[in-house]
């Protein structure tokens, strides 16, 4: 498995863990107050810290296992994979933002707008890394 594919798997795990933590926190807080909890900066900070910690530890581990590959620049196929995955992720994010804005126009709920845009960002990032993995494994470029 290529270093960059391992890296993508780590990021998928980090994003899913961070996302699960965030979703769990918001849903339990919302259940406690009986309505959708407003977005809070500390929860976003903790989400970001989880993401960074998992990503850094994961990359250190794969860097130790394959130090030579870790220091190699992307080759021409990898650059194409990254470019395609980034483009796909952009569409996912764009779609999420459009849906969120449409939702806001109908419901006029700023909290929900924050959560839906934030979720779009998370989903777009996960989609980017999954797309990279798929292209590494099955892509015909």
């Amino acid at each position: 498995m290529a270093f960059q594919e391992k890296s993508a798997w780590i990021m998928v795990v980090a994003l899913l863990l961070g996302g699960a933590f965030y979703l769990n926190l918001v849903s339990s807080f919302s259940a406690a107050i009986g309505t959708l909890a407003p977005p809070l900066l500390p929860t976003v900070i903790v989400y970001t810290i989880i993401l960074i910690v998992v990503a850094v530890i994961g990359h250190i581990l794969i860097g130790i296992m394959t130090p030579r590959e870790a220091n190699e620049p992307l080759d021409e196929r990898e650059r194409r994979i990254f470019s395609k995955a980034s483009s796909f992720s952009g569409y996912v994010l764009g779609l999420g933002v459009i849906v969120s804005l449409g939702h806001y126009l109908i419901l006029q709920d700023g909290d929900l707008l924050f959560y839906s845009v934030f979720a779009s960002l998370m989903i777009a990032q996960i989609a980017e890394y999954l797309c990279r993995i798929a292209l590494y494994r099955f892509g015909a470029l």
Binding site: E5, D75, E76, R77, E78, A134, Y136, F138, A140
Partner: protein
């Protein structure tokens, strides 16, 4: 995603003819990762013209001896 590309190649055969050159050795020689060489051999990646020339030069053959076109 699983489609095959119209460009065929003889990279694997040429590697075997070149004294069993490994995929990693070829990858180092042409400046790509081993996974890219694997993808080229499996017909899942069409290398750039520059890499195609590098591969051909590595085996001391012409470009058309390495790559072909299959509709």
């Amino acid at each position: 995603m699983g489609r095959r590309l119209p460009i065929t190649n003889q990279v694997r055969t040429l590697r075997e003819r070149a004294g069993g050159m490994t995929q990693a050795q070829l990858a180092d020689a042409i400046g790509v990762t081993r996974q890219t060489v694997i993808a080229i051999e499996q017909g899942r990646y069409s290398p750039s013209l520059e890499s195609a020339f590098r591969i051909a030069r590595e085996f001391g053959v012409g470009l058309e001896d390495v790559f072909g076109w299959q509709e």
